[in-house]
Point group: C2
Chain length 151, copies 2
Amino acid sequence: MSTPSQPTTLRSSLHDRGQRLTPQRQRVLALFERIGEGRHLSAEEVHQRLLGAAARVSLATVYRTLRLLSSMGLLQELELPEGGRRFELASDAHRDHHHLVCVRCGQTEEFENAAVLAAGETAALDHGFRLLECVLNVRALCPRCVAAECR
Amino acid sequence: MSTPSQPTTLRSSLHDRGQRLTPQRQRVLALFERIGEGRHLSAEEVHQRLLGAAARVSLATVYRTLRLLSSMGLLQELELPEGGRRFELASDAHRDHHHLVCVRCGQTEEFENAAVLAAGETAALDHGFRLLECVLNVRALCPRCVAAECR
DNA sequence: GTCGATGCAAAGGCTTTGCACAGCC
DNA sequence: GGCTGTGCAAAGCCTTTGCATCGAC
């Protein structure tokens, strides 16, 4: 049961900013809702997946839409160590949402850990910062690549 | 007391790989040793700082050298959420080396926290991964920018 | 003297932007 | 109907690469 499409939320969020609900914006957001939280896509991947659909969305619009949805807080931008910029569905859980990435093959696992969020909060407090988000990137080798390294 | 320049280490590391010790490579590494551990620079910044010096190092060589020194384990590449790729002096401490970044002005603070490393180790273990490095990026607003936001 | 390294400039990705047309409100 | 959004193509970063020359060993 993935989060149902929420045109109402999207529409009102856009309306509050004096912006419009377009099929392209709905399609991009729907794509992320379809793949679920914690799965991330690059701009190019979003473009490719939407090419398969009935109507296409230009790559420029994909970039513009990803930026818009991120600024609205509906998507979350993330920077994986080895790849490029990627985006995923935002959720409260993102304040404490971490990535275990294989630096060799790119396999990525997601995990949560309250202690990490606590550490981030402590650091922010110590320096007088207001915490927005806490992302732990664990660079590692997956079991398959560990085996391959020892070939 | 910053780490003293180590031409011997650099020379032998290079020699082991059939590569040569050049003034450019020494200068790039010396720059990172001069600014100290935990401070990071972009390729462009390295280039700028070396322009001030007596002899210049081309930007292409800066990129080549940063890649080389990273692959040798002398430098550490890192991906800050808002900026681009940056590099800093590698050290064992890097397995547990975290960043508090102001998303508005870019101010960056470094901190360590053993609990974070422990969380990374646990996650890696749970998934059968071999941990290489653990970097926590805390996106936040610095005191000055918090004040500015509330203007 | 040999073979790797450098500098320069051009080529390559990825992302953004300008502009005319399309379409949401 | 007005004004924002889209598509297309061109422009802009940042980074890498090709090639002739330089220089470490």
